[in-house]
C-alpha cells in the first residue's frame, strides 16, 4: 500500500491517493472514492476514512480520499454559486475524471458517512461510471417493524405512560455550505432525508444498472433492526441484491474500536465480493 498527497481539478481539491502494492493490485478493479462527512476532513471520523482507504487498497482498489471545497484543506470555490448537493456531485465527478485521466480507471465505488453517504448516492444517480456505493448511516426510513419495536415494549410497561414521547425531528448537523469567505465561518448543512419515494426510485435505478450496494447502519438513526432497510423498500429485493448490516451499539462516529473492526471487516468482505479474492488468496485456493 502506497499513499501520496495531491491536488486535482479546477478547484485544486486536496486529496490522498492510496494505491495497492503491486502484488495486491487488480487491473480489473474499479477505483474507489471516499466523500467527506459534514465538516470532518478527509481522515474521517475516528480516522475511519484512512483505515477504510487502506483496507480497500489491500483488497486491490486504488482509493482517493479528498476534501470538498471549503472543507478540510481544500479552499472555498470562488466565483461559482452552486447548491451544496450539486457541488457534491460536481466535485466527486471531478475526482472520477482525475482518476480516469491519470490512472485509466473508468468505474468507481463511492462511499462515506452521513452527508458523504448522501453524496455517494446522488453522484451514483448522476454518473454511470459509479458501479458501487457504500454508506454509513445513509438515508433510512421507519417501517411497521420499526414502530412495533420502538413502542411495543413501552405499551406493556406502565412506567412508560408516565413519560412523554420524544419526537425526533429530521437530523441536522454541520456540513458543507456555500461560498462565504469569512475565515471563521463554519459551513452548515441541514441534512433532511428526501421523500421515501425519491430514494426508492434512485435505488431502483442503481439496481437496474447492477450497482453494488452496501448499507451500514449505526444506532444513531431511527433504525432498529437489520432488515429495516429491506422492509422500507419492499419492492426492491434488497435482501438479495444488497449487503445490509446494523450495529445498534455503534455510535455515528464509530467511537468504539471493536465497532470499527467490525465495520472494516464488512467493508472488506463486500469489496472482495466485487473484485474477487486477493491474488495470493486465489492462488492458495487453487492449490
Amino acid at each position: 500500500m502506497r499513499e501520496r498527497a495531491l491536488t486535482f481539478g479546477p478547484a485544486n481539491l486536496v486529496a490522498i491517493l492510496t494505491e495497492p502494492d503491486p502484488e495486491q493490485a487488480r487491473p480489473d478493479a474499479p477505483g474507489s472514492i471516499i466523500l467527506n462527512s459534514g465538516i470532518l476532513h478527509r481522515a474521517g471520523a475516528s480516522r475511519m476514512y484512512v483505515r477504510s482507504a487502506r483496507a480497500l487498497a489491500e483488497e486491490g482498489l486504488t482509493t482517493l480520499r479528498f476534501d470538498f471545497s471549503g472543507i478540510g484543506d481544500s479552499e472555498v470555490r470562488r466565483g461559482e454559486s452552486i447548491p451544496i448537493e450539486k457541488r457534491f456531485i460536481q466535485e466527486t465527478r471531478e475526482a472520477m475524471d482525475y482518476l480516469q485521466t491519470e490512472m485509466g480507471l473508468d468505474r468507481f465505488i463511492l462511499g462515506g458517512l452521513c452527508s458523504g453517504a448522501d453524496g455517494a448516492f446522488w453522484t451514483g444517480l448522476a454518473d454511470e461510471r459509479v458501479s458501487g456505493i457504500w454508506q454509513i448511516d445513509g438515508f433510512s426510513y421507519t417501517t411497521r417493524g420499526y414502530w412495533i419495536r420502538r413502542y411495543a415494549p413501552k405499551l406493556l410497561d406502565p412506567r412508560a405512560w408516565m413519560h412523554s414521547i420524544k419526537v425526533r425531528v429530521a437530523p441536522e448537523q454541520a456540513g458543507v455550505s456555500d461560498d462565504r469567505e469569512e475565515v471563521f465561518v463554519k459551513p452548515e448543512y441541514r441534512r433532511v432525508f428526501p421523500p421515501r419515494e425519491e430514494v426508492e426510485a434512485g435505488l431502483r435505478a442503481l439496481l437496474e444498472r447492477d450497482t453494488e450496494l452496501f448499507f451500514f447502519f449505526t444506532g444513531a438513526q431511527e433504525y432498529l433492526y437489520r432488515r429495516q432497510h429491506h422492509d422500507a423498500f419492499p419492492g426492491l429485493g434488497l435482501d438479495e441484491r444488497a449487503k445490509v448490516e446494523f450495529l445498534p451499539e455503534c455510535t455515528h462516529t464509530m467511537t468504539e474500536l471493536e465497532h470499527q473492526r467490525q465495520f472494516l471487516h464488512h467493508l472488506r468482505t463486500w469489496a472482495r465480493g466485487i473484485v474477487g479474492p486477493a491474488p495470493e488468496v486465489a492462488a492458495e485456493a487453487a492449490a
Binding site: E3, R4, A5, L6, T7, V14, I16, S37, G38, I39, L40, H41, R42, A43, A45, S46, R47, M48, V50, G72, D73, E75, C114, Q173, A174, V183, F184, K186, A220, T251, H252, T253, M254, T255, E256, L257, Q260
Partner: protein, 251 residues
C-alpha cells in the same frame, strides 16, 4: 497550500506547507503542532483558519500529522510519544528547508504544545514557542479521558486507540518538572482558562530562571468533549491572539 509527505520512508508524515503572502519582510515561519486523538479532529478546522490568518500576516506555515495519526503513515495502535517527538524534529527541519529560514516559531495545542516544548528544547533554531492550552500532566490527562487509566492492553478514547506504550509515554510527562524546555527562547502560555496548573508551569520556569509569558484569553476550551457528529471547535479570540503573539504584537 502544498500537500506532501516527508520524513521516514517507512512511515511518512503528511504535511501542508503554505508560504506567507504580501510584502512583509523578514517573514516569520511557524510550525503548527496539532493535538492528538479526537482532539485532532476537533481542532483541524481551527488550525486551518489559524494557518490562513498567519499566511495573511506574512508568515510561512507548516502543519503536519504525527505518525500514526491523520494522513500520516502508521496504524493508530502503533503510536508512541517518542516517535511523535521525533516527528516534530523532522518537521522543524522540513519547515526550515521549505521556508529557507534559519529560525522558526512553534505553536502547539494541548499535547501538541507539550510535545513541541519537549521535542525542541535542544533546537536552537526554535526561538519562539507558543503553548496553547498545553497538557501539563500526562497522568492527570489520562485520568481525565480514561475510566481506568491503569487498565492493561489497548484502550480507546473517543474512537482513537491508546496503547500501553503510548500511555506509558504520556504518563510521566509533567511540564512543571521540565522548565529546561523553556530555556533560550521566548515562550508564551496561551490559555483559555485561568488554571492553577498553568500558573505552576510559569512559576516553575521562574524558579529555574526562565521567564514564561502567560496570556489568558477566556474562550471555549472543551477540546476533549465528544461531539456525536464530530463538530469542530473554533475559538476565534484565542486564535487571533495567537496570531498577534506570533507576529510579536503581544508578548
Amino acid at each position: 497550500m502544498n500537500p506532501f509527505f516527508f520524513g521516514r520512508s517507512e512511515r511518512p508524515l503528511f504535511g501542508a506547507y503554505s508560504p506567507g503572502r504580501g510584502g512583509v519582510e523578514p517573514r516569520r515561519s511557524v510550525l503548527l503542532c496539532y493535538p492528538v486523538g479526537s482532539e485532532y479532529m476537533r481542532a483541524h478546522r481551527a488550525f486551518r483558519q489559524l494557518n490562513t490568518l498567519l499566511n495573511r500576516a506574512g508568515a510561512n506555515v507548516l502543519r503536519f500529522d504525527y505518525s500514526c495519526t491523520g494522513d500520516s503513515g502508521g496504524a493508530g495502535d502503533e503510536a508512541t510519544v517518542e516517535e511523535w517527538m521525533e516527528d516534530i524534529d523532522w518537521a522543524v527541519d522540513e519547515l526550515m528547508d521549505n521556508a529557507l529560514s534559519d529560525s522558526i516559531s512553534v505553536l502547539g495545542l494541548r499535547w501538541g504544545a507539550t510535545l513541541a516544548a519537549l521535542a525542541t528544547q535542544d533546537r536552537d533554531e526554535v526561538d519562539h514557542l507558543v503553548l496553547w492550552d498545553p497538557i501539563v500532566s500526562g497522568e492527570e490527562y489520562l485520568a481525565s479521558v480514561l475510566d481506568e487509566p491503569g487498565a492493561p492492553g489497548l484502550l480507546g478514547v473517543e474512537g482513537f486507540p491508546y496503547s500501553e506504550a503510548l500511555r506509558d509515554g504520556m504518563r510521566p510527562i509533567d511540564l512543571r518538572e521540565r522548565p529546561k524546555a523553556f530555556e533560550g527562547r521566548r515562550t508564551t502560555l496561551l490559555v483559555a482558562e485561568d488554571r492553577e496548573d498553568y500558573r505552576e508551569v510559569v512559576e516553575a520556569a521562574r524558579r529555574h530562571g526562565v521567564t514564561v509569558g502567560h496570556q489568558h484569553v477566556p474562550s471555549p476550551a472543551d477540546w476533549s468533549r465528544a461531539d456525536p457528529f464530530g463538530d469542530a471547535l473554533i475559538p476565534q479570540e484565542i486564535i487571533q491572539t495567537a496570531v498577534a503573539i506570533l507576529q510579536g504584537e503581544v508578548s
